[in-house]
Symmetry: C2
Subunit: 343 residues, 2 copies
């Protein structure tokens, strides 16, 4: 290959390609660091390789190499021989931080089940949906959803608080709320905690609702927290709701299933009632911003027909189900966004 | 968590942490695209989802999601509904490019064996070396090295040409060259191709030398290409060499083994003879630049004692083995660097 560039030092190298080939090493480094509780140990003030290795019960050689790797990735600072936590590691990776999301690596983002599905990604591209056994993570009662409910609380909490603010929950309007596929139950529970006049009906598999119940108990809203165990498509969801929460749910489904489901939801809402869709909603170009844009690949690898739908996709599907209008609402500092659709 | 930042829009989010958790998805996307020959298809001018899907014999939904992901990663450009190759994809991922390195993903960087070793990274950190069975990739005659030899030719070719230039091979000095653990044999073969007065002795496992022999034949230097099959530590390496090439080799070993091996090499060199060490050699801070700095993690995961040694590490080890001096020599536009050590 000859280069006609006038800046020979800047001709393309294979470095970016090799970095993409090595992507799995970033995952492995984060999982190993979390397993060894490295971020908590460094957060406690251990800063040198011998001190960190002693606290982690690991070899000095292994700790030195892992810490250097995490410094390259920007999660640790290195000054001379001393390591400290970078700001986002301090907030999100030190177990003593109330916003720590360590468990979400093992529980969802890089769980054995999800990573296994990505092992057959080429087959999923050929087929147009998960090449994992059965329906992938959409198998009824997949135990992955219990892990998800347990591990994703701190990832979702800022969004749950953002939602309560957007809906002005603290104004105390009497609300009957349906929380579909509620998982950890955090969205409904947070609305109930902020609004003493909200009654929340939380639907999910029985095993998952046990996790949501604990979160409702912890938030002191158990008396206004009601469970609807079963399959969202099959179970009687009740009626006369002011609000229906569809958080991280529609994106798991294909367009046909979403349209069927939205008609069911339309029927359980009061006139003027609202549906809150929360999920990864990329711009219309489907390649920005980063977090929502890359979510579609996870849906391809792990579900038969899920996707990262755009606002115009959702708008069309809600209209087809009879809703009057939908509007996008930004959640600040969150990878996920809201759509509010009115009956 | 409360933030005291004056720019609330810029408070830390978990996005960078989640991106690291998802690192394996970048690997999976690249491997799927290579398996489906997506970059070659787009390089041929297919630009829309239906056309690309037809050529790749894959679903339109899968192709759309994969192409969007590759656009997010910057390997494709997307304009409206049309995808084209970004410059580095054109050079390094289109099979029709003479510098295509696709095979290196499956043959080495993200091979099943290497990825498997990263699956027990926490155990490797505890232990201080590979937690894979046996000696990891240092098992005698590991078939990985045949895959490496076959698949890494285009990754290494620019470095082999850079080396020939640095050594001024074209001047035609009579050289007796030993190429240790030669793999594809490209470094020795390139010196022989550029210098008609060079005789090259290539040492590696018998199965690997078969690959090097093919490269020597193809380069028209078979008459000056000699094979030394066996274990580098055990086999008689010959004597009176002008040059010994240690490319991508010392970094696989621990310090004690390197010092033993360098003494053996010292003995087979002529007085004034030179050793060329080529490998991933980070700066003394061990966390820059990116490619060399992250290489140590691969050595931790896959070998009992390998590392990304710095220049001062190598300088000390060469002195301990009796060498007069070592000097670092930069290879332009290459992730790997050179050290020339003189007897």
């Amino acid at each position: 290959m000859t280069s006609t560039s006038q800046q020979p030092e800047q001709k393309p190298t294979a470095e970016r390609v090799m970095e993409a080939f090595r992507g799995y090493q970033r995952t492995a480094a984060m999982k190993a660091a979390i397993e060894l509780d490295l971020f908590t140990i460094i957060g406690e003030g251990k800063s040198t390789v011998p001190d960190i290795a002693a606290a982690a019960r690991a070899s000095e050689r292994g700790i030195r190499i892992l810490c250097d790797h995490l410094a390259v990735q920007g999660f640790l600072n290195k000054a001379g021989a001393a390591y400290t936590l970078a700001p986002d590691a301090q907030l999100f990776l030190d177990r003593k931080s109330p916003s720590c999301i360590n468990d979400a690596a093992f529980g969802f983002f890089a769980s054995a089940e999800v990573m296994h599905s990505f092992g057959s990604l080429a087959a999923a591209v050929r087929k147009g949906g998960t090449a994992a056994a059965g329906q992938g993570m959409m198998d009824p009662n997949d135990p992955l959803w219990v892990d998800f409910a347990v591990s994703m609380v701190n990832v979702q909490r800022p969004m749950a608080h953002g939602l309560a603010k957007v809906l002005n929950a603290e104004a105390g309007s009497p609300w009957k709320v349906l929380d579909v596929a509620s998982g950890h139950g955090l969205f409904g529970v947070t609305l109930a905690a902020k609004n003493p006049n909200a009654e929340v009906y939380s639907q999910d598999w029985e095993s998952v609702l046990a996790v949501a119940q604990k979160n409702a108990d912890a938030a002191g809203v158990a008396a206004r927290f009601h469970k609807i165990p079963g399959d969202a498509f099959q179970v009687d969801l009740g009626s006369d709701y002011d609000l229906v929460l569809l958080t991280n749910f529609l994106q798991l489904l294909d367009v046909a299933a979403i349209e069927v489901f939205l008609k069911k939801i339309f029927r359980v809402l009061k006139p003027g009632g609202r549906v809150i869709t929360l999920g990864f909603i990329p711009n219309e170009d489907r390649i920005s911003p980063l977090g929502p844009a890359v979510f579609s690949l996870m849906m391809l690898a792990t579900t038969p027909g899920g996707d990262a739908y755009t606002f115009s996709d959702y708008d069309r599907m809600f209209r087809a189900a009879g809703f009057a209008r939908s509007e996008p609402v930004a959640l600040p500092n969150a990878p996920q966004q809201l759509i509010i659709s009115t009956k």
